[in-house]
Assembly symmetry: C2
Homo-oligomer: 178 residues x 2
């Protein structure tokens, strides 16, 4: 997929709707992919993202020790792979291989981008104050990429237990909101 840089000031527009994302990490030559829905924007610019990554997950250790990850945003055509990645552990499985996903080198972090995702946010941890108590990390997106050819990407939203709502209609209302 041809990706172009995406302005950091607009990153909130990708995450604020609450899509399921895939977090990639790399540590000691091993990469991993984790499916994640518990995230929120914390600040517009620099774009800060808060997210829960459980210490039961293999990705937790990778993120903790490298301080880096990529947030990859999949569209509905990847739903089966998204669920697959959420149902096995990087301790046992190379998920890029198992799910035939393509790792692409990031520009600022060691974790790879997932090529098949329409947007990728390279992130560094900026606050660990709530990690011990809630596994809650605050990340800063330092570089962002998008596939501009996808004019209306349909993301998916997890309602628990493998049930997802797919993006439907778009509505636009007059608003002063950012």
């Amino acid at each position: 997929m041809l990706k172009t840089p995406f302005p950091l000031s607009e990153v909130y527009r990708l995450l604020e709707p609450g899509p399921v994302v895939m977090v990639t990490t790399a540590c000691k030559g091993r990469t991993n992919i984790m499916t994640m829905s518990w995230h929120t924007m914390i600040e517009f610019e620099p774009p800060l993202v808060g997210c829960v990554i459980s210490n039961r997950n293999y990705s937790f250790g990778n993120l903790e020790s490298t301080g880096e990850c990529v947030i990859n945003i999949p569209t509905v055509d990847l739903a089966k792979k998204v669920v697959g990645c959420g149902n096995c552990s990087g301790r046992k499985v190379d998920k890029f291989k198992k799910y035939n996903l393509t790792p692409v080198s990031a520009s600022c972090v060691k974790a790879p981008l997932i090529d098949e995702c329409y947007a990728n946010l390279e992130c560094k941890i900026v606050d660990r104050k709530l990690v011990a108590k809630y596994n809650f990390f605050i990340l800063e997106a330092i570089t962002a990429w998008i596939d501009k050819s996808q004019k209306n990407p349909q993301t998916i939203h997890h309602q628990g237990k493998g049930t997802f709502r797919v993006d439907g209609e778009t509505i636009k209302l007059p608003s002063k909101m950012k």
Copy 2:
């Protein structure tokens, strides 16, 4: 709307998809409504919700001083009111009156439920550690209500600047995920 109690263990299924919500507060006899999209689940049970409520908002002071609020989840038919509430301040306007919304007494907090919303979560602040730095509150949902007659509520997801994606198709995939 007839509301029945909703199990706290299932609250994550309402918020994890990332819908726009309306936060209600009450302080010194004055209520307010704030439109919010920056929230995430933090824990399944008791259900903990992290959210950003800016100190520029009138609701910030209400929440800070009472420690309580209600998270109300609107469906797409309320979209205009949702945007309206996001575009004016409770300092100047009684939003329940202006937008013809109905306040209903909560059972455990002083903030009112918005009757027109299909689900309501009565919340108390449980952690203020990141409030000073990020306006980030951690709330516990202590009581939850739902309108069971709505079998397929369509929530809305803010993409910024008054643009929303409406819930579309539902897909279900075999999953071990909660």
